[in-house]
Symmetry: C6
Subunit: 224 residues, 6 copies
């Protein structure tokens, strides 16, 4: 198989999601642009209704928690937000890109890069809970194929980890989370500014979140 | 069966509803976020038309009675309201979440927490009447599974209580109501601020509502 | 059969309509809330297109004649109007709730109560004519079951009175009308303010409306 | 057959149209209300798309020619216009009510009554031409049944007059027209203010319109 | 056959188009009204989506080139434009009325009459190119039947001229064009103000357009 | 076959795209007009949903990068943008016109001409990446037929070059790109102002883009 062409550097407003379709898992990037404007929200990329609602929920989450990340609380009326999923001809649906969209929004609005070697999946709720998703096995295979090192997944999907391909399970650092703040702490580059990037070591759980250490404490190089 | 993962603490803007589907009863949470804005109403979670209209009716009820709960009467134009039902891929419909939505709105707008051990079901009308619903037996089984201690139900559903599972009937405190004010008096935490939370004892009926005492006067611990 | 639970007191903005469905007649209440706002019209209760247009026509009638009932002529831009038909899951359609909606609007906007023992049916036109409806026999049976004492019906339906159930015909005071002003004179409580409520005696026809006396000049107690 | 109940007096904003359906001709009234407002156009009465467009065309005609009839040229932004066709449950469509709608609009906006014994049919174009319609035979039968004395029809339908029922043709005064100004001159009551109403004698053609005298120069009493 | 009734004089905002349907060619007039307003665009006459887009394209063309014809460049926000195709019950679609709509718009906005003996067909592009159309043979037959003397057609349709009916080809002056400015030069009456109207002689090609002389250099009287 | 009629000169706001349909490749021009306005976006030409979203994405790209090309950053609210694809009756869809639309927008907004002998294809993402497309063989045949000299294609489509017709491959200069800035550097005429136009020699890769030289270093004259 031919791995999708990923850009090998961290960017603002671009986050790796993971999708699960009838033909397997797939890396599904989201792009967010913040444009000077009047508060319009643009959603493109052949998104189904559930996915559009997921994006609206993500925007509301960011409006509620954005100030903690240095985001102007009036962004929703002084900016236009465009959320786009590339490969515009491919229909996409489902709620599992929720955490991906929140992360891309926070990145674009705060001008903080996102780790390009991290991928994630999880439904988001209005108050920031991360709900379980389907297809973890297939999604992690897609992450592995695309040279992702770290996958963020919902804590409620931990029982599904045992069904992963052994080689994939060995290669990836899995980070189960239950709150969006944990996702952002892992995926945003802010903490990495003062030195060369290293694969993230196992992190201490967030003060407000109880004990969700990475399933694999040290990343394993991806075989090629 | 695996109980849904409920958070074990009271929150603002989060209320436990009860749904009845072809595969049984289910706990159906509603989340409400109040965001500084311009009066937009956002409804997400794969809601059908009847449920959307139920939410609009709930908003009108809150606009009418909100001041009694300390809510700024201009909220409808200075705030955006987002009402979300998690598990965004699951279609949801019907009017029976009416009281749940009113409660979540009042909580979010007045910043008062809602009891996390209470669940409720009931259609709401524009002037605050609570109309009967279907599936009481299945809904109360879902409440029991999720460690709810108190279920608020429409007074007109009292005849359906005898069809409940005996063990569920023993475990739950049932609170039949006919007006939304009764729902709020039971579910909002305001009265519990000055001391440790206790399972609510049987309450006196509201002055304006005639004699709807709990069916079970003392809560029974849920077996595990 | 179990009679619908009607509240036994007069209210503002609540009027008893009568619907005719494939399974018989039914009491169909309408609720109107007037909220400080910007002129939005909200229609809920699973209404079909004809019924929605009927509500819009009713609003226009009230905008034209409202001042005679002490209603601020600018209400249409300083208020939001919500018209709701309870039992939100039941589809409702047809033009025959026109007079009911006008009455509820006038009541809510002028803060005058509506008689709870009166029910009504009739299509409304833009200049206030009351047009004939179908299902008089079934509708009056529903009124009788719900302990209504007085039914307002279109004058053009007088020929259908002979098809009513004899016991229903004996029990109900029938008030044929051809203009909305007649409906309002019968249904609004204003005239009853100065004394205890009595079942309405036969009224003199309105000056502008020719000779439409009640078909039964004195109300007959409803057997129970 | 039972004739529709027509009100026997001239009114403002009410005009008799003539419709042609699969079950024959029918009198189809249009009602127009002009309400203080902000320029909204409301169309009700189960109108099909062609009929809605016909109403929009009629409004544009009135915006263009209204000043000649004393109408405030800014009405389109200081008033809301409601155009309603009674019997709201009956679907209606087609362009042949165009002249009827223009006449009702001019009447309502200029506060001039319309002759209640006149009925009309004809498509209207943006610059006021009257285009031919179908079903003249059936439509004139409906006019006859409803005690109409004068029928305005498109000049291009003159060849269809010979297919009319002889008794109907004898009873009605037919007024073929090709321009909307001719319609208004016949139907508006303005000219009749100074004396008792008489059935209109044959009129001179309008200066700008060539020679369209009534087909019957003197009205014939309708047999009853 | 019975020729459509055409008015025998030049008008502002009225242009003869040519349509091609399954039953042959047809003369298809467009009417444009410019009303004091706020920039709304009204499209009526049972137009299909392609034709509506064609009208929007025509409006954009006029917004771009209008000043050359003395049109206030702010017309798009100080006027409402109504584009109507008579015979409102007949569905119409396709892009070939593009040049007709542009001509009617320019005429209505600049108050210059359009030649009533000219008919035209051609798709318009945003920068004013005239693209080829279908049905030239049928369309020119309709023009001939309606006593048109001059037909404007797309230059790219010149190869189709040989398929025209010989008698029609003899009777009509054909004017192939590739740019909208050529259409306007032929159809607008401005140039004819100083003297009696003559059938247009063969014109010099526009400076910017290369050599598109009329196919027939002198008009031939239409036999009757 | 008959080649489409292309205008033989460079224009502002007109760009040659390449489409791939069931009947082969086709040259598909896009036209953009920028009109003084209020920020409306008009999309015409029978575009499917994917293509409309592609246009919206293109607009957002231009809002983000436009200033580098001298475009007023407020254009999105002081101008109306009309994007039109001629041959309005032909349905068009898919994301592969993304780069074409961006190029036409940049040209129209900056008043810089676009090379008329260049055609292009490629999906655009929000941050300006050029994604691969289908039908390269057919699209390049259409370019060849239309006397295009240079075709811009996505770098990820380089493997498809070997499937091109040999004669086409000989005749065309192919320019694989991965970023929109490369497209603009090739297609915009700005760089050619100081001298007679020459077929573009192989260009140095953009500083920010790594080594994408033309596949054919010198253009080959098209046989006729
Ligand atoms: Ca892919
Ligand atoms: Ca799932
Ligand atoms: Ca669940
Ligand atoms: Ca129910
Ligand atoms: Ca009922
Ligand atoms: Ca009826
Ligand atoms: Ca009738
Ligand atoms: Ca017809
Ligand atoms: Ca015709
Ligand atoms: Ca064609
Ligand atoms: Ca083509
Ligand atoms: Ca593709």
């Amino acid at each position: 198989f031919k791995p999708d062409e990923l850009e090998g550097f961290d960017q603002v407003g671009v986050v790796n999601g993971l999708a699960w379709t009838s033909v397997g898992g797939e890396l599904l990037q989201v792009e967010v642009s913040v444009l000077k404007g009047t508060g319009k929200l643009e959603l493109t990329g052949s998104l189904g209704d559930v996915m559009k609602e997921s994006a609206q929920t993500a925007v509301s989450v960011v409006r509620r928690i954005g100030e903690r990340y240095g985001i102007d609380p009036d962004f929703y009326k002084s900016s236009d937000i465009h959320i786009h999923f590339p490969e515009g001809a491919v229909p996409k649906d489902g709620p599992s890109a929720g955490v991906t969209i929140v992360t891309a929004l926070i990145s674009a609005l705060s001008d903080v890069k996102v780790r390009h070697d991290v991928a994630m999946t999880g439904e988001i709720t209005l108050r920031g809970r991360v709900l379980p998703i389907g297809g973890l096995r297939e999604k992690t295979m897609a992450a592995y194929r695309n040279k992702i090192t770290t996958v963020i997944l919902p804590k409620q999907n931990e029982p599904d980890i045992e069904e992963m391909e052994p080689v994939v399970r060995q290669a990836l650092t899995l980070r189960p989370v239950s709150q969006i703040e944990q996702v952002l702490q892992i995926a945003l580059c802010e903490g990495q500014k003062k030195g060369p990037r290293q694969p993230l070591p196992a992190q201490k759980p967030l003060p407000a979140a109880t004990g969700e250490a990475p399933v694999h404490s040290s990343p394993i190089p991806i075989p090629q």
